[in-house]
Symmetry: C2
Subunit: 414 residues, 2 copies
């Protein structure tokens, strides 16, 4: 009975919902220099305030603001200069009424002062008298302690992929060891009796293993660590053994497929032959990508990719990426940050009855308009993919899209 269920095509949403059973991989500690693009496993609360002391945000003079009130070019105020604050040192002395100290940008505000007059509005006279031609308000031209980050404030939460500015903030906070999720290890098993390694010269009927290398590069670009397991003979026992070994080592298994029905059936048998395995999805209502398999091998997710290169690449983008990101512990931002951009469709597109249709497009700018040019071609070809920048979806139940229509283009990860 339940065997038959697998042949009902599942929608993309149904497939994504099944990912909930797979949790993120474990954590490791890395130094700040290795933190870029890693995913935080724990939120970081600021251990101290930044800045830690009141600092000048301009070059000028530390003063009591009230000493400058009423100053103007016609009627300057005069203060006595009692010294200079050196960068990186505590000020020597305090500011009493009528006094001022030279204060460079970033320098520490001396006690007693509550504002900085910019150097542009001042002149020094030979007798250490400062002429001030503009009033300042208390706090002006200063950074106050904690203005950037308050002590205890949480700016970086668990699940965030660290960006350069986040690394800068962590450095400022003195947080030099980071708890991040491991990069998921992704085992890639090539199947298909017609497949030979890229460095081999194919004999009659043979082709080179492009899909595994394509998938590996996608995994790297998405933040995982691909492990190419080589070409497994299209026989039950070797495939079953390779799957069993991979399920113990890897966080995710990809079967980079033989394109024939026979190869796919063999994959299914081998998966089912492992104890604790469960086929969750066999067939997805997307085009290309229908013969995709999702399984759990004792808790390790397995994605069986279609055999045609373009189908495999699109399935990795549309279904593999969210799975990998889940394993990475990544919490996606709500707002598009260049994952998708709007464009105008340059020709009519018919949809695929009963399936979401993913059409490869190339972007082309013409004055202010970004056009999405569909790049058509069978899924067995690589070159249309090489010429494309992303995907336009004709949704389920929509007959087609019209030339000139505004569409969202889901960009390839690179």
């Amino acid at each position: 009975m339940s065997g038959l269920e697998f042949f009902r095509l599942q929608t993309r949403e149904e497939v994504l919902a099944r990912y909930q059973r797979f949790g993120p991989v474990g954590v490791e500690e890395v130094g700040l220099g290795e933190g870029i693009l890693r995913v935080l496993a724990e939120s970081v609360a600021a251990p101290e305030a930044v800045p830690g002391f009141a600092r000048a945000s301009m070059d000028g003079y530390a003063v009591k603001a009230e000493d400058t009130f009423g100053a103007s070019p016609g009627l300057p105020q005069y203060l006595q200069i009692i010294g200079e604050v050196a960068m990186g040192e505590a000020p020597r002395g305090r500011i009493a009424a009528g006094r001022a100290m030279r204060l460079p940008t970033g320098g520490m505000l001396p006690a007693g002062a509550d504002a900085l007059v910019m150097v542009e509005y001042c002149s020094e006279h030979p007798d250490q008298t400062l002429e001030v031609r503009k009033p300042v308000a208390p706090g002006e031209n200063l950074l106050r302690p904690g203005e950037d980050v308050a002590s205890g404030e949480v700016l970086l939460t668990a699940g965030r992929r660290l960006r350069p500015q986040d690394i800068g903030l962590l450095a400022a906070l003195g947080v030099t060891r980071l708890t991040v999720h491991r990069r998921p290890q992704v085992a890639i098993l090539s199947t298909g009796d017609e497949i030979v390694p890229p460095e081999a010269t194919p004999g009659p009927g043979q082709v080179r293993d492009s899909n595994a290398y394509l998938a590996a590069a996608q995994v790297t670009a998405m933040g995982g660590i691909p492990v190419l397991k080589g070409i497994i003979p299209d026989k039950y026992s070797p495939l079953r053994e390779a799957l069993a070994a991979a399920s113990e080592e890897a966080d995710l298994i990809l079967i980079s497929g033989g394109s024939s029905v026979g190869a796919r059936d063999l994959s299914l048998s081998a998966i089912r032959g492992l104890s604790g395995s469960e086929v969750l999805v066999h067939g997805v209502a997307i085009r290309p990508g229908k013969p995709t398999i999702l399984a759990s091998l004792q808790g390790t997710p397995l994605l069986g990719l279609p055999g045609h290169p373009a189908s495999a690449a699109i399935v990795m983008q549309v279904l593999g990426r969210p799975l990998l990101e889940r394993l990475m512990g990544l919490r996606k931002e709500v707002c598009p940050r260049g994952d998708a951009i709007q464009a105008r469709l340059s020709r009519n597109l018919a949809g695929a009855s009963g399936r979401e249709d993913y059409v490869r497009v190339r972007l082309r700018q013409e004055e202010d308009v970004v056009w999405a040019d569909p790049i058509l071609g069978p899924s067995a070809l690589l070159s249309p993919l090489v010429k494309s920048d992303g995907l336009v979806v004709v949704p389920l139940g929509v007959e087609g899209l019209t030339r000139g229509e505004a569409v969202m283009v889901e960009l390839f990860v690179y």
Copy 2:
């Protein structure tokens, strides 16, 4: 005379034009598995056609197309099955008139056949007779040799950053060694007497070195290799020596600056003190980022970053990235691939008189509209940068931008 020229602010375009004197770094050879995101130094012409032979793009039967003409469910054609093509092997036998062979997806077309009938339109009878209920045209359901890539065709040109699908194509072509540009080595010198390493506890008036770590992370994200050279004392000789050493090792030098005027003047003196050095730019008409320096140290480019963290980060994005990409040999695609996206401005923005104004914005989606929310705050703060997704430019000579206006948001590299 020429010393005074440096104080004229140069526009972004003028700065970018000066990059032409700096050529791309040298090349190295890497394997296919290391090729992802590397920049091709030489165009790749296909050494052979892909596919190399006529292949089935569906599961079905190899036939002579003319044997199927006129076939219909009511009046099928009958052919004799003479065998099966095994995956990865040359077909055994040839197709004469009235004959057919089973042919799985990806299998090699036997001699004599010129089309494939899909399995869905056929039935096999016990006596090895094939019932065909639909005609096929010559070439139907086949990939012809060279349909993906013709021999000699150039799909990947010098200057291209290799994407996953490019790696897949190279694997299919058997191109397993790639000539790519080296990743540029970027020496980062921290200056400023107030600066201590991130792992130190700052004393009074001291701050941790966030800018160098931020710049290093940006360099990594942009494809370079950062080399942190540590904190150089704000004295002429040590700085000059550090610059001399860096100019011999690195492809690009960044001075991550002390924020005071004194520190900047010292950088300029140290640069000018090196033989064969030339200060090309001292002051750029952008806000923030005015005190940026561009110099050539015997042909090695040097970018002197402003001292405020946000200024430094924005200068790296706006001026550092194009310089680094030039050194990487990257030829940018004409069309935006998510580098910038359109959004609607959520409040009025005043421009900076006489300068391009770069305003940090956060993206926020509200139904179908993507809003750009300006994140204001002094350049001395990191947190507004952490909260932002990219930059909106108020161009030179424009008084300001209006709430509701459509703007392009230049996205941060991550």
